[in-house]
C-alpha cells in the first residue's frame, strides 16, 4: 500500500504529471515544515505518487528540493529584475507595489525562503537557496543604495543603517510573520489589503524617515 490509487507496476497510460506534482508538493510542504521534518514518503503521499519517483526524477530528496527552488524562484527573479531602481522617493510606491505583486500570488514562496534562511548556515539547503536568492538580495541592495537611503534624502539625525533596517522590516515582516502571530494580532494579510499596505508603508517611511520637502499629501 504505497500509493492511494491502486495501480499495478509499470508505465501508466497517458501523462500522469508526476514530476510537476512532486515539485508542487515540495513547495507546499517545505514551505510549511523544516527540511528534516518533511519525509520523502510524506512528499510522495501528498503528490499522490510513489516515493521512488523522487529518486527517478530528482535523484534524492535534496535533488527535489533543489529543482523546486530553482524552478519556482526563476520566474520571480525575472520579474524582479524588471523593476527599475527607484532613484526618487516618488518611485518608492511603485517599487513596493511591484514587490508585493510578485510575492503575494504565491504565499508559500516567502515562507519557504524564510524557513530556509533559518536553517543552519552551512546546510546544503541554504547553499542551494542562496545560489538563486542572493541575486534577489543583490537587487534589493541596489534599490536601497540608489533609492530611499541615498545621501541627501534622509531627515537629519536619521542613521542610514537603521533606515535600511526599517524599510526591510516594514516590507518583509508582513510576508513572513508566523500565522499564529498574524491571527493573534488581527492583521490579516490577504492580496486585497496589499495595495493599502503599500500606501501605508510609503506614508510611514516618507513621514518617518525622509526630509519634508517635496512630499505630496499622498
Amino acid at each position: 500500500m504505497a500509493t492511494t490509487t491502486e495501480r499495478a507496476a509499470g508505465r501508466p497510460k497517458g501523462d500522469s504529471d508526476a514530476r510537476n506534482r512532486l515539485i508542487n508538493s515540495a513547495l507546499v510542504l517545505f514551505g510549511a515544515n523544516s527540511f528534516a521534518q518533511v519525509s520523502t514518503r510524506e512528499l510522495a503521499r501528498h503528490a499522490e505518487v510513489d516515493a521512488a519517483m523522487i529518486r527517478y526524477y530528482f535523484g534524492s530528496k535534496l535533488g527535489l528540493f533543489e529543482s523546486m527552488v530553482r524552478e519556482t524562484l526563476a520566474p520571480v527573479l525575472a520579474s524582479l529584475k524588471s523593476i527599475p531602481a527607484a532613484a526618487a522617493p516618488q518611485d518608492l510606491a511603485s517599487l513596493m507595489q511591484t514587490y508585493y505583486q510578485v510575492m503575494a500570488p504565491n504565499p508559500a514562496l516567502p515562507r519557504l525562503i524564510v524557513r530556509v534562511l533559518h536553517e543552519p548556515e552551512q546546510s546544503e539547503q541554504q547553499r542551494i537557496l542562496l545560489d538563486v536568492f542572493s541575486q534577489i538580495m543583490d537587487l534589493s541592495r541596489q534599490w536601497l543604495a540608489q533609492g530611499l537611503v541615498k545621501s541627501g534624502q534622509l531627515r537629519e539625525g536619521v542613521n542610514p543603517e537603521l533606515a535600511r533596517l526599517s524599510l526591510i522590516s516594514l516590507m518583509v515582516f508582513p510576508l513572513i510573520a508566523p500565522p499564529v502571530l498574524i491571527k493573534q494580532f488581527g492583521v490579516d494579510i490577504n492580496p486585497d489589503i496589499l495595495s493599502d499596505l503599500v500606501k501605508h508603508n510609503v506614508g510611514v517611511l516618507q513621514q518617518g524617515l525622509l526630509q519634508p520637502h517635496a512630499q505630496e499629501e499622498q
Copy 2:
C-alpha cells in the same frame, strides 16, 4: 564511546549539573535548528552528558523541550509583566526600551520563539510554547490597544490595523531576521545598538503614524 569524558557507569562524585546543562543545550540547539533536526544524541553531546539522562530528567525529548521553554520563558514573562501599559505616546520609548532590554541579553530566545511559531500549528511543540507565550502576546495586545494606537492619536487616514502591523514589524523583525539577511544588508544587531534602535523606531513611529501636536524634536 557515548560521552566525551571517559567515565565508568554509576553516580559521579559531587554535582555534575547535568540537568541544567541539558536545559541550556536545548535552548541553544532548538533555537538554532528545527525540533526534528535536533537529535537527542546531539543534545547529549552538546551538554557533555549521556543521552539516557534526557529520559531520566525529562522523560523524553519533548519533555526536555517543554521544561526548557517553561524555565526560560518564565523570568521573561515576569519582567514583561512589570512594564506598565503605555497610555501616552511619550511612554512609547520606555516601553520599547524595556522590551529590548528583556529580549536582547538572550539572543537565543527570540530565535527559539520564532522558530517554534513557524512549526506546524497543531504540533506539540507549538502547543507547549503557546501555553506560556500567549500570556506575553496578551500583554502586547494590551499595549497596542491602550497605547500607541488608541483612538484619537493616529494621524488621520492611517488605518489602525496597519499601524499595529508597522509597530510589530519594526519591533520584532530586527530580533528575528535570519542571520544571512542581517549580514547581507549590513545591519548588525548587537546590544550596543539597541538604544539607538529604540530612539530610531520611536522617531519613525511618531513622525510616521502619530498626529503632529505634542512631539518634542527627539
